[in-house]
C-alpha cells in the first residue's frame, strides 16, 4: 500500500515550523512507529519530491505501549505511534504533529517535564506503608499503569503547560496513594493539593475519557479520587 506521511517539522523551539511529506510504500498493518523507524533508516532520507531531508526527531522506546514515549498527534488525535496502524486510519494520507500543549523541542519531540513537576507538587508519594485493601486492588493496579504520556492532557480544554491545573493524570495517579496512605496528615495534605491542582480546575468536559492509550478507566479513577479527597468517602 502507498501512503503519504505528512510531518510537521521544526528544527528548534525558536525557528519556524514547516510541513514535509514522505512516501511510504509497505505493509498496511505497519504501525506509525514502524513507518517512522523505516523512514529514519533510509540512507539518505528524501521527501516525497526527492529533496534531501534531515532524520525525523521523535521518541520511541518499547514499541508496545508500555513506555509512553511516542505520543503525538496522529491525524489530529493524540495517540501512541506504536499502537496506531495504517490500515485503521481513514485514507492514505497520515498527518503527524507534535503534541501541542507542551513546549516544542524538535520535530515530534516535546518537553513533558511539567507533567512530572505537577506530580511532585501534589505530593504523590506514600509516607506510610501501603494499606492494601483487597476490594480496591483492581483500581489501584489501573492507577499504577499510567504511562505519563500526556495524551489526556493534550485533549483537555483546561490544561496548559503554563497553568497550575494538572489534568487527568492527577486523579488517575492520586487514587492509589489516597487509598493506601495511612499517615493521616499526609493524606489531608494530599487531598488539599489534589483539590487545588485538579478538582477546582476541572471543567468536567470529560474530554479525557476514551483517549488513554493504555485504556486506563480515567473516569472511574476520577470519581474515586474525588470521592476520597473531596467527599471524604
Amino acid at each position: 500500500m502507498a501512503y503519504q506521511i505528512r510531518i510537521k517539522r521544526q528544527s528548534a523551539p525558536d525557528t519556524k515550523s514547516y510541513w514535509q511529506e514522505f512516501s511510504y510504500d509497505g505493509s498496511a498493518d505497519a504501525s506509525v512507529a514502524a513507518v517512522l523507524n523505516e523512514l529514519n533508516g533510509r540512507m539518505p532520507l528524501t521527501d516525497a519530491f526527492g529533496n534531501p531531508a534531515k532524520p525525523i526527531s521523535w521518541e520511541c522506546g518499547c514499541m508496545v505501549r508500555k513506555c509512553g514515549a511516542c505520543a503525538m498527534r496522529i491525524n489530529g488525535v493524540p495517540r501512541l505511534a506504536c499502537s496506531v496502524f495504517l490500515n485503521t486510519l481513514k485514507g492514505t494520507t497520515v498527518t503527524l504533529e507534535p503534541l501541542s500543549k507542551f513546549p516544542l523541542v524538535k520535530d515530534l519531540v516535546v518537553d513533558r517535564s511539567i507533567l512530572f513537576e505537577n506530580m511532585k507538587k501534589i505530593e504523590l508519594w506514600l509516607k506510610s506503608d501501603a494499606y492494601l485493601a483487597e476490594y480496591t486492588h483492581e483500581a489501584r493496579y489501573q492507577s499504577a499503569r499510567c504511562l505519563m504520556c500526556g495524551c489526556c492532557l493534550e485533549v483537555c480544554p483546561n490544561f496548559s503547560a503554563e497553568g497550575s491545573f494538572a489534568g487527568a493524570i492527577a486523579p488517575v495517579n492520586v487514587y492509589r496513594i489516597l487509598n493506601e496512605e495511612q499517615d493521616h496528615s499526609h493524606r489531608e495534605e494530599l487531598s488539599a493539593k489534589y483539590k487545588a491542582a485538579f478538582f477546582d480546575g476541572c471543567g468536567k468536559s470529560l474530554s479525557c475519557q476514551d483517549i488513554c492509550p493504555a485504556h486506563i478507566p480515567v473516569e472511574e479513577l476520577t470519581v474515586r479520587s474525588n470521592a476520597a479527597a473531596i467527599w471524604r468517602r
Binding site: 504501525s31 540512507m43 508519594w125
Partner: protein, 516 residues
C-alpha cells in the same frame, strides 16, 4: 560530609541505587536520557523471584540459590548469588509495603507463579506487567526524595564520558538532549545503571532507548567487561515493526505449551524431552530446542487451554498485546514463536560489591555482569536490578571518595561518535547473524573482518563481543558453538574478560570467584 553520587540511568537499578543513597544520607544526581517511566524496566512482564515459601512447597533461599547457580552454568559469582537470593524475600516484602500492586493470595501475601528453571512456585507478579508496577512504586518513593532535595534529577541528559583523575573516576560529562549543552558533574562516585547492549543488535525485545552507547564508551575508556558472549535469547518472541515483542514466560508458567506439527499431529517436544520441567526448562535450553525444531518446521505456543480467569487476573495484558500487535486471539489459536535476543548476562565487570575495574565507578542492573553467569533465570532480572542497585549504592556510600576535591577542569575533547549513522544497520545485521542461538567460529571470524573498518565505540564493543565468543571454544549456557558442541570445564570454567588498551581489544580469562 555528605557524599555526592551521580547515577547514570533511572530504570529499576538506578532508582534502587538512588533510594539507597538517599537513605544513607547522601546526595544523588540521577541522570537519564528519558524519564523513569520510559525505562526498559517497565517492559519486564513475568515477575520477580523470591523464596517466600508461602505455597507449602518447602521452598528456601538455598534452593533459589541452587537453581540460579545451576542455570548460570558455573559462571555466576556464587557469593553474590548467595547474597541476592537470601535478600530476595525481604526485598519483595518491602516492595509490597511501598505499594507494588502484586497479585495476592490469602489475605495479604504476594501470589507466586511457576517460572522457567525452577521447580517451586517462587515468582511474585503483578498480572503480566510486573516491571511497570514495581517502577511506579519506586518512582513514587523517589519523588519524595526529589522534593526534599536528596535526589536531583537530570532527565533528558545523555552520558558523554567519564572524568578521570589519575586512575580514579571523579565524575562525568553529560549532555542536555534538548539544548545540546554539556555539563560537567564532579562526584565522589558514579554508578552506571544503563541497561543492556540492545543497540548493538537492534532486533531485540529490549527498548530502543537501550543503545549500549554508555557501555561502549566505558569500554573505549578501558573499563573491563566480562562474559560479553553470554546473550540470552528468550524462547518465545514475535517480530513486530523492526524489533521483537516478548511473549512472557508467564504464559508457559500458567500452562502454555510449545509444540510443532509432526505427521499431522501436534508434537509437544519440550514435554517429551524434558518430562520434569517440560515447557519451563531454563531459557538457554528452551531457546535452543525451539531453534533446532524450527530448522524443520514452525513452532507454536498454545495458550488455548488456560482458564478464562487466568487471562483476566494473571495475564490481562498479554492477550490484548497479541490482539493488537499480531491480530490473533491467543485464547482461541496457538501463535508462531521464535527465539529473540532479550537480555545480556555479560557487560561491565563488577565484583560482588558492584565495584568496576575503576576506582569510584560502580555498575548495577543489566549493564553489569554478575548474578546470571552464562544464562539467567526468568524472574531474576528485576531482582538483580533492585538488589544490585542497593549494593552498588551501599558500597559507593561507604568507600567512594573522589581522588581529589580540587575543582575538576578536565575538558574531554576526544569523545567519539558511538557509530557512524550509515554503519549502524549494517553493524546490527552482522552481529545478529554471527551471534545467533547457535554460533560457529567461521561466521564470527567473518563478522569480525566485516566490522573491522567501522569507526566508533559501538563497533569496538561489537568486536569485543565477537572476540569473547570466538575465544570460548566450547558450548555453555547461552553460548552454543556448532564447532565446539561440548562444555569444557577444564579449559573454560572461567570468566571471559575483555579489555581495550586504546589500540587493541584483549581477551583474557579470570577464575570465577570461589564461594567463601
Amino acid at each position: 560530609m555528605k557524599k555526592k553520587i551521580v547515577i547514570i540511568g533511572a530504570g529499576l537499578a538506578g532508582l534502587s541505587a538512588a533510594l539507597q543513597t538517599s537513605e544513607n544520607g547522601n546526595k544523588v544526581v540521577l541522570v537519564s536520557a528519558y524519564p523513569s517511566e520510559r525505562a526498559q524496566s517497565v517492559m519486564a512482564e513475568g515477575g520477580i523471584n523470591a523464596a517466600l515459601n508461602t505455597k507449602g512447597e518447602d521452598d528456601s533461599p538455598e534452593q533459589h540459590y541452587a537453581d540460579t547457580i545451576h542455570a548460570a552454568c558455573g559462571l555466576a559469582d556464587e557469593n553474590a548469588v548467595w547474597n541476592l537470593t537470601h535478600a530476595a524475600p525481604e526485598l519483595v516484602r518491602w516492595l509490597h509495603r511501598i505499594g507494588v500492586q502484586f497479585n495476592t493470595s490469602g489475605i495479604d501475601e504476594p501470589d507466586l507463579r511457576n517460572f522457567g528453571g525452577q521447580k517451586k512456585k517462587r515468582t511474585a507478579f503483578a498480572q503480566s506487567d510486573t516491571g511497570k508496577q514495581i517502577m511506579t512504586a519506586l518512582i513514587d518513593a523517589a519523588r519524595e526524595q526529589e522534593e526534599n532535595g536528596a535526589v536531583k534529577r537530570l532527565s533528558h541528559h545523555d552520558f558523554v564520558t567519564l572524568l578521570m583523575e589519575d586512575a580514579a573516576c571523579c565524575g562525568c560529562v553529560v549532555r542536555d538532549r534538548y539544548s545540546g549543552e554539556r555539563l560537567t558533574l564532579s562526584a565522589d562516585a558514579v554508578i552506571i545503571a544503563t541497561g543492556g547492549m540492545h543497540g548493538l543488535f537492534g532486533d531485540t525485545t529490549g527498548s530502543l532507548f537501550n543503545t549500549g552507547t554508555v557501555t561502549a564508551e566505558l569500554f573505549r575508556l578501558g573499563v573491563p567487561m566480562a562474559n560479553l558472549e553470554m546473550i540470552q535469547y528468550h524462547p518465545t518472541t514475535v517480530p513486530i515493526g523492526g524489533k521483537r515483542m516478548l511473549i512472557s514466560e508467564a504464559a508457559r508458567g500458567e500452562g502454555g505449551r510449545l509444540f510443532a506439527m509432526r505427521d499431522g499431529k501436534p508434537w509437544y517436544f519440550m514435554e517429551e524431552k524434558y518430562p520434569e520441567l517440560g515447557n519451563l526448562m531454563p531459557r538457554d535450553i528452551t531457546a535452543r530446542e525451539i531453534w533446532t525444531v524450527r530448522q524443520q518446521s514452525e513452532v507454536f505456543l498454545d495458550m488455548t487451554g488456560l482458564a478464562p480467569d487466568v487471562y483476566e487476573k494473571k495475564l490481562s495484558g498479554l492477550a490484548e498485546d497479541c490482539r493488537v500487535y499480531l491480530g490473533e486471539d491467543i485464547r482461541k489459536e496457538p501463535i508462531s514463536v521464535s527465539p529473540g535476543i532479550h537480555y545480556f548476562m555479560g557487560g561491565i565487570r563488577v565484583d560482588a560489591q558492584h565495584r568496576t575495574g575503576v576506582q569510584n565507578l560502580y555498575a548495577a542492573g543489566e549493564c553489569c555482569a554478575l548474578y546470571h553467569g552464562a544464562n539467567r533465570l526468568g524472574g531474576n532480572s528485576l531482582l538483580g536490578a533492585l538488589y544490585g542497585g542497593r549494593v552498588a549504592a551501599q558500597t559507593a556510600c561507604a568507600e567512594a571518595e573522589s581522588a581529589s576535591k580540587r575543582a575538576v577542569s578536565i575538558q574531554p575533547s576526544n569523545a567519539v561518535l558511538p557509530c557512524e549513522p550509515q554503519d549502524k544497520a549494517e553493524l546490527n545485521r552482522i552481529l545478529l547473524h554471527a551471534l545467533g542461538v547457535v554460533r560457529s567460529g567461521d561466521t564470527m571470524q567473518d563478522a569480525l573482518t566485516q566490522i573491522a573498518g567501522m569507526h566508533g565505540s559501538l563497533p569496538l564493543l561489537g568486536q569485543a563481543v565477537l572476540k569473547s565468543a570466538l575465544a570460548r571454544n566450547e558450548s555453555r549456557g547461552a553460548h552454543w558453538r556448532s564447532d565446539y558442541p561440548q562444555r569444557n570445564d577444564a579449559e573454560f570454567h572461567k570468566t571471559t574478560a575483555a579489555y581495550y588498551d586504546g589500540q587493541t581489544v584483549h581477551i583474557s580469562w579470570d577464575a570465577v570467584p570461589e564461594r567463601r
